[in-house]
Amino acid sequence: MGEPVLQVTDLTKRFGKVTSVDGISFELPKGEILGLLGANGAGKTTAINMVLGIISPTAGRVEVFGKELSSARIPILRRMNFCSTYTQLPGNLRVWQNLKVFGKLYRVKNLIQRIDEVLEMLEISHLRNRVTGELSAGESTRLNLCKALMNRPELLLLDEPTASLDPDIADKVRKVVSRIREEENTTILYTSHNMRDVEEVCDRVIFMHKGKILFGGTTEEMLQHFEEESLEDVFIRVARGGDIENPRDLTPPAEADREEGV
């Protein structure tokens, strides 16, 4: 196996006394889709923002394409992109104007053609001349995805890309994500609260809780580990499971019983 596209080592972020991300390490090989799961406040978005260089880590390293992010941020960012439910494109601009601006920022070649391609890929070609601020939430999210795909990123960070979408559009987005991985071998880090996203799209998942990685593996391995029927059950259990400092709370009951010799 070649060098990982993304390697995160002992990544930590503290805001004052609050530890948002607590020494997480993982790597992402080329062409893999890794799901980053966790309840609100688990540290997923902070972790993604550190990979983007928007937040600087308190400790630890982020290496992308074999280079350390802190020393080669701009050349790295040219080869990656991101889409977040927490950001929007300027509402006063038309759809094509926004894509043109970001295409130029990422130095996209054959820009006009690429704009048409990404709009078609997300099935919003008919919105090309619409004012961005007039788009529905679903259309707006798909436009954000278009922006994220403009530069054919080798590493794509998707922060809850289906958060505001109806099931039909969410399904389309999942299919697009799977398709770009198949066609362009894009490596993707994907955060979501939607367990369907994770089951359908991700090769592997990392479950975060209170800034730490609780579990890393395939979805099947996770279900086995937690002895639950569905990812949703795992999610609820972890979210309500109390304190990471007391791992027993989060250990599957049968396993906890075994440890206690019951």
């Binding site: 972020k13 805001f15 978005t45 902070t46 923002n49 983007l52 260089g53 928007i54 937040i55 600087s56 701009i74 050349p75 960012l77 040219r78 991101f82 977040s84 927490y86 950001t87 929007q88 494109l89 300027p90 509402g91 006063n92 601009l93 038309r94 104007q97 043109k100 601006v101 970001f102 130029k104 920022l105 990422y106 130095r107 004012v131 922006k147």
Partner: protein, 265 residues
């Protein structure tokens, strides 16, 4: 520095103005109001003082035009940043391959464009309405304008740095910062008119030398070269200080996660 990044950011700004022409009101309306108020005040004083009318008073109109260059340049930098905050686009920009220098250069370009539009309009209108010709300053206008632009950029960077540091609640600073210095900047009156202690404050501001120079130029047709040298020297210092402050605040913002807080407002 990447020219394509600068071009893209400026393009975004131009799209914004062509898409919403009402924004031009801000560029044209307020400067016009100032010109009319100060211009008619000047005319009133002229008509009521007869031969005793001090010619220096007409410089008020020149002051309005030159002050607006500084103000628009500052606004170009500060409002550019706020546009991204208001549209929740900040993270898209800062997660793109854009360096601090690319970002700042695009704000300088926008500031220059804003200043050019406003000052040209004011110069033409003051000629038509009041027969006041700022162009009698000839070539000295070039260093005057350039120095005012640079000082405006420096103030814009300081304004943006303060907004980043203190959060969206501090966004009124984008408009307030130039007016913090205006009383000491010798815009409408000479430095001598200030109490002695405040004269030192005035002398520490590059723009006070420009406004003094403008008054000399309009009165005598000559500008003291030392005024231009002082303005340029001080501008180098202000630009360097503002650059360091901006850079440090951006680093601090990354450390404290302030940029993401703007995005979630």
């Amino acid at each position: 520095m990447s020219l394509s990044s600068i071009q893209a950011l400026v393009l975004r700004y131009l799209y914004l103005y062509t898409r919403t022409p009402i924004r031009a009101v801000e560029l044209l309306f307020w400067p016009l109001v100032h010109l009319l108020v100060w211009g008619y005040l000047t005319m009133f004083l002229k008509d009521n003082t007869g031969d005793d009318f001090p010619y220096e008073i007409t410089f008020l109109i020149g002051a309005v035009i030159l002050w607006d260059i500084l103000f628009r340049a500052q606004q170009g930098v500060a409002i550019f940043f706020l546009e991204d905050v208001w549209s929740r686009n900040l993270l898209n920009i800062f997660a793109a391959p854009v360096t601090n220098l690319d970002y700042l250069c695009s704000t300088y370009a926008v500031g220059m464009m804003r200043a050019a539009i406003t000052s040209c309009m004011l110069a033409v209108l003051s000629m038509i309405i009041y027969q006041f010709n700022i162009f009698v300053l000839n070539w000295t206008l070039i260093p005057f304008v350039f120095n005012l632009l640079v000082f405006g950029w420096a103030l814009g960077m300081i304004s943006t740095a303060l907004i980043v540091r203190w959060g969206p609640a501090a966004e009124t600073l984008a408009w307030a910062v130039p007016f913090f210095i205006q009383p000491f900047a010798a815009v409408y009156y000479p430095v001598d008119a200030l109490p002695e202690m405040l004269q030192w404050v005035a002398k520490s501001l590059p723009c006070s030398y420009i406004f003094e120079g403008m008054r000399d130029g309009l009165k005598t047709g000559e500008v003291d070269p030392s005024d231009l040298l002082w303005a340029t020297g001080l501008n180098v210092v202000y630009l360097a200080v503002a650059g360091v402050l901006f850079s440090r605040v951006m680093n601090k913002a990354r450390e404290k996660g302030l940029l993401t807080k703007f995005a979630s407002q």
